[in-house]
Symmetry: C2
Subunit: 155 residues, 2 copies
């Protein structure tokens, strides 16, 4: 049956990588020490939020592509250099894995990491939305540090 084309997988990937480019600039905007030590209101520092994004992106895609889920594990990049290196490595891995998502997969329901049951399109949205959510928090940390964050509309 014909259905409305909202967005293609290629367009979804481009939008996500655009967000990832902006998030990378946000990570890079933090002074090395503040990335790991500073936060507002007792929150986790932005290094923890960036590690969470790394924990989600490639491991989620691996489960989406293979249907096999590992246990969810927190990434533990311990320096700004390590976070950015892992970020850049994952950029290529994401492109490779994304191209392997079977067409029918987007509308299937699966239990991500054996814990979170939802349709794959919803899961992929969650990964991107979580990144946007936490990056927005990083913007506040930067502002509180007197640092201008990168423009939101630049991807």
């Amino acid at each position: 049956m014909a259905h409305t084309l909202v967005i293609t997988p290629e367009q979804f990937l481009a939008a996500w990588q655009g967000h990832r480019t902006l998030t990378r600039r946000t990570i890079a905007a933090f002074p090395d020490d503040k990335l790991f030590s500073y936060s507002v209101g007792g929150m986790r520092p932005f290094s923890d939020l960036a590690n969470e994004m790394l924990s989600m992106a490639v491991p989620t895609l691996k489960g989406v592509v293979t249907g096999t889920w590992t246990k969810f594990e927190d990434a533990k990049a311990a320096t700004k250099e390590e976070i950015l290196a892992r970020w850049d490595k994952d950029t290529g891995t994401i492109n490779t894995l994304f191209a392997q998502i079977p067409a029918a997969r987007w509308q299937e329901v699966d239990t991500a990491f054996g814990q979170w049951k939802m349709p794959i399109y919803d899961l992929m949205n969650y990964v991107v939305d979580n990144e946007i959510h936490h990056r927005g928090q990083g913007y506040v940390f930067l502002r509180a540090l007197g640092i201008e964050p990168p423009p939101f509309y630049e991807r």
Copy 2:
């Protein structure tokens, strides 16, 4: 030509309204005065961010549905009660307008508000992403005020 079904318009709408429900709870979590007076790092208070969301949601959908764009105008709800009332009114308007988006429209390129040229799927993503971004900032304001924000995964 057959193409991959990533997400249907109905699923896109449900995801957006889920975000809007969470944003409404975030607005409601602010004490009335702090909503309009408090921020971190010299940023706009959350009332301004919520008004920006209101300025974007229905006016963008009107342009998407009709192809006619008004000038972009900031919403100016001046109390928490007004913001929440406009929010709830817009929930119904969004459902009504969304159902009127022509199927071919998502992949068309248009110049939103006479200023921002992009495909409609990208524009619709931008409206949702901007809400997630600013809501994440509101979470930091709430934390700094000693208030627990609503759980991100509850929609």
